[in-house]
Symmetry: C2
DNA sequence: TAATTAACGCAACCAAGTTGCAATAAATAT
DNA sequence: ATATTTATTGCAACTTGGTTGCGTTAATTA
């Protein structure tokens, strides 16, 4: 039997089978205090005294399913996560490029309109774009 | 003491410390008979009876250093290789997007002019673009 | 407060890619 | 042709980001 619960965490609202556990709150708070993307590896480093890495991967996956986070692969094929804007479990509509600074390692989401144009004779579904270079802070 | 040798394999010419070994010839022939990109995993599968996977990774790395192949990370963070055009050990000037078919898995290089525009306040050095969707064959 | 079951911790596992080292085989010198 | 040099190879062991199975714990509901 499936049951639904509304979970309010600050100003965020989820609909779905997601419990307001200590782990969920801890992970969410990381994305509250930081607006840029965070790699799974970094989260494991930061939270390893407070929760198991298996739990981290599992909660991240669930938060992505729920449309609160989106994921992508960074520089070395490592997994990164960042907050969604206006996504739900029904649909992720925030496919956009990401920028990683080769100096400080910071990753942020770029606006959608920096997307690749369509390719002739092919139907583009997903566009995984990772730009690398110097960010605002490290450039000047 | 360093020595130089010109190695001619078909119409391809290398300058550098690269021996015309059985392994090098085998790997090169794979890129001769196929114009699309090939993943390291696929090459290991295909050639495992003929050479060790360590050798495959090492030869691929060397061919990339020599400007004959370029590499990029595909769908699951796996390493892919494709032929360069007019690159050398001195400089790789073939940064371009890649297209992977979600149906048949084929990956090919796209033309340079499909590149991302510049981003304000940031200096873009590398642009790793992997588009996914249906290729010509699988689309129609 | 008790019952239900999603979520957790742990340990073992998986797989792509790397490393150290002794053996081998291209290329060069004689 | 043969000996010498040393880049390259095979093998086994390792590294590491991420996954899986399962018994226990704790969030939610009755
Ligand atoms: Mn993003
Ligand atoms: Mn290419
Ligand atoms: Zn930076
Ligand atoms: Zn296809």
């Amino acid at each position: 039997m499936i049951f639904f619960s509304s979970i309010y965490l600050g100003y965020i609202c989820f609909m779905g089978v997601l419990r307001k556990t200590k782990s969920v709150k801890l992970l969410l708070s990381e994305f509250e205090k930081q607006s840029t993307a965070i790699s799974a590896i970094t989260l494991i480093e930061r939270l390893q005294s407070k929760m198991n890495k298996t739990t981290i991967y599992r909660v991240l996956e669930k938060l992505e399913d729920d449309g609160f986070l989106h994921s992508f692969l960074g520089k070395n094929g490592y997994k990164w996560y960042a907050k969604c804007t206006n996504c739900s479990s029904a649909e992720h509509h925030d496919v956009h490029p990401h920028f990683q600074c080769t100096d400080c390692g910071k990753v942020d989401c770029l606006s959608k309109d920096a997307l690749i144009p369509n390719i002739p004779n092919r139907k583009v579904d997903v566009s995984r774009v990772v730009l690398q270079g110097k960010c605002e802070d490290c450039f000047t």
